[in-house]
């Protein structure tokens, strides 16, 4: 009985355990140095990651409210990996903070939320998980208590999240009215594509679109990304987005399968808009954080292109891409976080001549950006290739052509950063920075991931073998 619950819930239980441990430390008011806590949390997260690989098959718990299988366990592992990397990279920033424990409590609360959201078999659990993650996230984005921009970001974030949650809830309630159920299986059996159901679907889609910042629901993204502390921005752009996309893919391919033709057309439209607008805004940015914000909007557009493919190839390519995206984006954000924490500089102009004193950081940045741009031999190339390949599988070559053109446009602004780092000079470039052990490990993992995930074909094959068939 107990193994039947503990085993499928092992990742959730572990994170909850860490959370409570931190709470006890806080309440017990034992004086631990910040460094000790950081090391402790990171080790526990690593343990959780290893635990996630413990084999467990398909399980459905609590009357279909919670379901898990190997693919979902893998998705949770990917999120856990992302969280671990963010936490490693936040080392420099957190050492200067007094509220390290609170940071981790909030962070882990969002992670539990994501875990339940991914495992949801019922729209209620799904919504619960989503809110459990969103509310701590807004607190996190306002975590730089002394900075006004950070509070502003939190305010913007909470308003837009509330708005999107409202849309989502409205859609869910309409769907309940239309189908008489909140369970995923039942809903999908009752969908017939009537106008009412489509309306409900569009509301739900808009809610999702807010969370993953698709155009025209992206307006909060750049400001929130810019105002939040860099580790939180990294977390938002990678783990939060990844989690929502995991659910998005599941929901589209299983619950809304009867409406496939409809949502495919909508997604193509959203994808084209997202890629174009994201790119056009990214072209004009001077702040590296804003540039990465718009680039992450563009990447969402590419992910949508993959979703429009057949469920097997499309689903695989999306999960594969998000794994790669975690490595690439966290590589880039890691460098930004480190430089921002030590020098406070965040604009592209500040990066001019970075290579002279910091060759290692420069290469990490360059390789990450190449991966984001989709240049081989980095993994980003494979990720993008398979996303668009999945999209082309349905014969939408015009759409894929637009996507390919957007890849070329996006290359321009990534290369602008590379140019600043390697080719430009300025009178007072950033001096030599020290990289502590933990961020160094994070960079190592990111670069290794970028170089290896693509070239090793079995990563893709493994996800493919687990992916939703049909």
């Amino acid at each position: 009985m107990w193994t039947g619950i503990i085993l499928p819930l092992r990742q959730e239980l572990m994170v909850t355990g860490i959370l409570f441990l931190l709470l006890f430390i806080k309440v017990g008011a034992t004086d631990f140095s910040t460094g000790t806590i950081l090391n402790l949390v990171n080790v526990l997260l690593l343990a959780n990651l290893l635990l996630g690989f413990f084999p467990a098959g398909r399980t459905v718990l609590f009357d279909g409210m919670f379901h898990t299988d190997k693919l979902i366990a893998l998705e949770k592992n990917i999120l856990n990996l992302g969280t671990l990397l963010v936490s490693l990279q936040a080392y420099d920033w957190l050492k200067g903070q007094r509220n390290t424990l609170e940071f981790y409590m909030l962070l882990l609360a969002t992670l539990i939320g994501f875990f339940f959201m991914i495992s949801a078999g019922n729209l209620l659990i799904f919504y619960l998980g989503l809110e459990l993650s969103t509310i701590p996230l807004t607190a996190l984005s306002g975590f730089d208590l002394e900075k006004r921009r950070s509070s502003e970001a939190a305010m913007k974030f909470i308003i837009s999240s509330a708005f999107s949650s409202a849309l989502l809830l409205f859609g869910i309630s309409l769907l309940y009215g239309a189908t008489g159920s909140l369970g995923f299986d039942t809903i999908s059996r009752h969908l017939d594509g009537s106008a009412f159901q489509l309306f409900a679907f569009i509301l739900i889609l808009s809610g999702f679109a807010f969370k993953v910042s698709l155009v025209p629901f992206h307006l909060w993204t750049a400001d929130v990304y810019e105002g939040s502390p860099v580790p939180v921005t990294a977390y938002l752009s990678v783990v939060s987005k990844g989690a929502v996309f995991f659910v998005f893919v599941q929901v589209l391919y299983t619950v809304f399968r009867p409406l496939t033709g409809d949502w495919r057309r909508m997604l193509i439209l959203l994808s084209v808009l997202t890629m174009l607008i994201g790119n056009l805004f990214a072209l004009r940015q001077h702040s590296l954080k804003r540039l990465l914000a718009f680039s992450s909007i563009t990447q969402s557009g590419f992910i949508l292109a993959g979703i429009t493919g057949s469920s097997h190839a499309g689903g695989t390519s999306v999960i594969y891409f998000i794994l790669i995206y975690i490595f690439s984006n966290l590589g880039a954000f890691g460098v930004v976080a480190l430089i921002s924490a030590q020098t406070g500089k965040e604009s592209i102009d500040d990066y001019k001549g970075l290579y002279a004193a910091n060759p290692l950081l420069s290469w990490v940045m360059a390789i990450s950006l190449f991966s984001l741009a989709g240049i081989p031999p980095t993994a980003g190339f494979f990720g993008k290739f398979f996303l668009l390949m999945a999209g082309a599988g349905k014969g939408n070559y015009v759409f894929i052509g637009i996507a390919a053109a957007n890849m070329v446009i996006s290359l321009y602004y990534y290369l602008r950063v590379i140019k600043a780092i390697f080719m430009d000079t300025q009178p007072q470039p950033i001096g030599r920075l020290t990289i502590s052990l933990l961020p160094n490990i994070a960079f190592g993992v990111c670069i290794l991931g970028i170089l290896v995930t693509g070239l090793l074909g079995w990563v893709y094959d493994y996800i493919y073998s687990l992916s939703i068939g049909g």
Binding site: S310, A313, T316, F370, I375, P376, P377, F381, F385, F386, L388, M389, A392, G393, K394, G395, Y397, I400, G401, A404, A405, M407, V408, L411, Y412, L415, I418, K419, F422, M423, G457, Y460, D461, Y464, S465
Partner: protein, 498 residues
């Protein structure tokens, strides 16, 4: 022979370079690396001849590709790492090895960031080798893109003039080319293994990127007509297809010498090889259909390139624009679709690769000494630096098609093959292309005459030295290649056809 060695050796060299300290160590490792590449390339040539049974009594191996190796890469998508060579690839690999040794030798005096320079250069060569040995279109595309970004860095960091602009333009245009190739490849992929023609998203047999497999199955004509332009223009951008040639002059003239040599010598050939191997070979019906357009664009490139060269004052620009013109011959030969013309196109690829690399090397050596590339400010160099002047003249003469040098052999083959293609328009194109040789002679002889002959323009030039040992070695190597093809073109012709 294990073909993957051609990719692995440059990669191992780059890894070694990362651990070496000191400029001289870096140089030596790089030179050793490219020398091994050259040895490998010759070994490949020898083994290839042997396997084909040339000169022996035994009948040779007649399969389309030799030394094939296949390893499942993304088995879920039926993507394999699949390599193998035929005569054309062997020739291109030899060319790459020659140019790479030359490029490393002329970069001997690179002072800033020596290690990074050679690492990027060797990465480029790995991409080129991988491209030429690929038999799977995914692998091929992978290697094609591998060789784009190092160029951006090479030009942007070590270049001269408007280097950032040129680097960005080159990277974006080549990426646009790659994007078009990408769409073409996807179109091809989804039209393989489909029974009964083009049905969007239809099932029926696994789709494949495998070249030999696609070559055997007829790709539906409708799909060919749709996707051929993507593939041809995409690869064409790499090989300066008019009107997408504008990256060539800027890129070549801003690049450091070694990168110019690679760009003009090998990188532009990637495009030609791709046009031939992927676009024309896999979509023959579409190639026939689009042949007039290809021939037309190629002729425009030849004429336009030749006349644009006449207007140039900078030696590197002269060679860059003349490359546009000469690469036009490659596309002309491919577009004519006759066997002889295609042979000529391949020979032109090899010949132009060697010749233009030699030319850029000579220009680089002159620039290193005089610090100018402007024709009007140079003069009388023959007295001061006889060796450099000699290779400069040889490259020039090869460019204008002097018999006995490779340019003549290649161009005459292209013209003969082109003339075989019936039809007034094709004949006209051939005649126009032939006529452009005269223009070539004008600009080459003028540039050579003004820089090499005549009085010394600047008294300071009198104190300059001739080529150093490494520059001599690079020059001799490339000249040897040019003469070997010029004097005995039949071995190359036989290699291409075997």
């Amino acid at each position: 022979m294990n073909l993957s060695l051609l990719v692995i050796v440059p990669l191992i060299t780059t890894v070694l370079l990362l651990f070496v300290r000191g400029q001289s160590g870096v140089r030596r490792i790089a030179l050793a690396g490219v020398s091994i590449q050259l040895v490998l390339a010759f070994a490949l040539l020898g083994l290839y001849w042997q396997e084909r049974g040339v000169g022996g009594t035994a009948a040779g191996n007649a399969s389309a590709f030799l030394f094939e190796y296949r390893h499942a890469w993304f088995s879920a998508l039926h993507i394999d790492y699949h390599v193998g060579v035929d005569g054309i690839s062997v020739a291109m690999i030899l060319l790459t090895a020659f140019v790479m040794v030359g490029a490393v030798l002329v970069s001997w005096t690179i002072k800033s960031m020596t290690k990074e320079f050679f690492v990027l250069l060797l990465l480029l060569s790995a991409g080129a080798y991988g491209f030429f040995i690929s038999l799977d279109l995914f692998t091929l595309f992978f290697f094609l893109e591998v060789s784009v970004i190092p160029k951006f860095l090479l030009i942007g960091i070590w270049g001269s003039g408007r280097k950032e602009y040129a680097a960005m333009k080159l990277a974006l245009m080549l990426m646009a080319g790659s994007a078009m190739v990408f769409i073409g490849l996807l179109g091809l992929y989804y039209n393989t293994g489909v029974a009964g023609g083009y049905v969007a998203g239809a099932a029926g047999g696994p789709h494949t990127f495998d070249w030999p497999a696609i070559a055997q199955m007829q790709v539906p004509v409708k799909a060919q007509l749709l996707f051929f332009p993507f593939l041809f223009i995409g690869f064409g951008i790499f090989t300066a297809l008019f009107p997408f040639h504008t990256w060539v002059p800027d890129g070549h003239s801003s690049a450091p010498t070694a990168a110019s040599m690679f760009l003009a010598g090998i990188s532009m050939k990637l495009g030609g090889y791709g046009c031939l191997r992927v676009a024309v070979s896999l979509m023959p019906a579409a190639a026939r259909e689009y042949s007039p357009f290809i021939v037309g664009l190629a002729t425009i490139a030849i004429i336009y390139g030749a006349f644009a060269t006449m207007m140039q004052k900078d030696l590197k620009y002269i060679n860059a624009y003349s490359s546009v013109s000469h690469c036009g011959f490659i596309l002309l030969g491919i577009g004519m679709l006759t066997r002889t013309a295609v042979n000529g196109a391949v020979m032109q690829m090899i010949s132009h690769g060697l010749m233009t690399a030699l030319f850029f090397a000579a220009i680089g050596m002159i620039y290193d000494r005089t610090h100018t590339r402007l024709v009007e400010r140079l003069g009388g160099l023959l007295k001061i630096m006889p060796f450099i002047s000699s290779i400069f003249v040889i490259a020039g003469l090869c460019s204008l098609g002097l018999p006995g040098l490779s340019g003549f052999a290649a161009e005459i083959t292209v013209f003969m093959g082109s003339w075989q293609h019936p039809g007034g328009m094709y004949h006209l194109a051939t005649i126009l292309a032939c006529a452009s040789i005269v223009v070539t002679a004008v600009y080459i002889l003028r540039a050579t005459g003004q820089t090499i002959m005549g009085p010394v323009k600047d008294a300071e030039y009198n104190g300059l030295t001739d080529a150093t040992w490494n520059e001599r070695l690079a020059g001799i190597l490339l000249v040897a290649g040019i003469i070997a093809i010029g004097v005995a073109p039949f071995w190359l012709n036989e290699l291409i056809n075997k």
